[in-house]
Subunit: 245 residues, 2 copies
């Protein structure tokens, strides 16, 4: 099969070990498709996966059976609606508790409001609400992921952990002094970090039994009363937490 040493070096190379190969490849296929900007042919996907075409073909068929993947008229594959169904279950309690708060914040402040959750080294946007008259270019789409140590939501999440806890749970990313300030204030602020020209404010949400999250707003940089908005976010976060308990 493969010598132990060769297997080990391969393990070192790959980001994650793959306990079950077929499942891991299937998920990889979905990740590749989600990242791709256009539908892919089976051959392209097989190449991206690094597997034989017949293997990719079998995997795709299985994914297609579950609607996680659909094929267009030309036979090319792209992510399917089954993924939306699965995603519906992600932190459902948090989503439902946060939605009213998000709509209220978005319309009261005329800013895009969203909830992001901590995921390993990243921060993933879960649900967003656009203000009434939005250019829609600010849109922080659900499913967006970026490093957890940048942006106000990331700092807010960081502020829920001590420096030691952070070092242990998020190895590799430095502890930011802004997190200390955020813990004191109850909210975090950032400018031009994730997207140039945009500022964000966020308050942490402590999820009982789960990973911390954050409720945030994003807006075009301008001088204004950060404290008032930050406190509104913290109040929303508190209301959400009370619903989760």
């Amino acid at each position: 099969m493969m010598s132990p040493s060769a297997a080990k070096s391969l393990q070192d190379t790959k980001a994650t070990v793959s306990p079950s190969q077929t499942l891991s490849r299937g998920i990889q296929a979905l990740e590749i498709l989600a990242a791709a900007e256009r539908p892919l042919t089976i051959a392209e996907l097989a190449a991206a996966l690094g597997v034989h075409r017949s293997v990719a073909y079998r995997i795709l068929r299985t994914l297609e059976d579950h609607s996680l993947l659909v094929r267009d008229d030309a036979g090319r594959v792209q992510p399917g609606p089954g993924l939306a169904v699965l995603a519906r279950g992600v932190s459902r309690d948090l989503q439902t508790a946060a939605l009213p708060e998000l709509t209220q914040l978005a319309n009261a402040l005329n800013m895009t409001a969203f909830v992001a959750v901590w995921d390993h080294q990243d921060c993933v946007t879960l649900v967003t609400v656009e203000p009434r008259h939005s250019a829609a270019t600010l849109a922080q789409h659900p499913g967006t992921r970026h490093p957890v140590n940048i942006g106000a939501p990331g700092i807010a999440i960081q502020s829920t952990m001590s420096e030691e806890e952070w070092a242990a749970r998020v190895p590799g990313l430095p502890y930011r002094p802004e997190a200390v300030e955020a813990r004191r204030l109850g909210y975090a602020a950032s400018h031009d970090e994730v997207i140039a020209g945009l500022s964000s404010l966020a308050a942490p949400i402590h999820v009982p039994g789960g990973r911390p999250a954050a409720i945030a707003v994003v807006y075009i940089r301008r001088e204004q009363d950060q404290a008032a908005v930050g406190e509104a976010l913290a109040a929303s976060a508190a209301r959400i937490e009370s619903q989760l308990a």
Copy 2:
């Protein structure tokens, strides 16, 4: 392990044949988790899957590696943020083209606006926009799925197909006469079908090379000018289609 006849009868029992067993089981695990109202223990999930615990354990580890699943402090499993990332790629072009139209419709009409796509025998809601002052109870959440022959979006999708095509592609569900009317008008209407007390209007979106979709609004039943709203939906659908081409 299993006699051929027993294997065959099992296959007959299961809804879909499973070309690759491990992958299929992994997806089934995600489906079970998404449908579950609460976090599940590994033993519960193994029972639901009908597999040995050690098998479930290995599958879960793989899913966890990809953030498709997270575990709470008690070790119970629930859907993870990676699913949101994957779902981001579902009909991305349609989502981005539809979002501005949805926000405009929602606020102009003060109704919840959403886009749904056709998936086999079902209709899956992809993206929704709530009006400004919404009770949020009307919320047609993304990821909701219901049979494709009920509700205005379903009828609108049905109206894009001839009766023969419908019979061939959606076996088992009857062809509704309302679809003919919808094709003539350019939009479909329904009352008390999916949810009692709620009405919906929808216009079909023809996706080039892909499966048809629909843009729709949902509102509490009342007398009003259906035609005006329906034509607004049809106009939105036309603008979305022009962007997709």
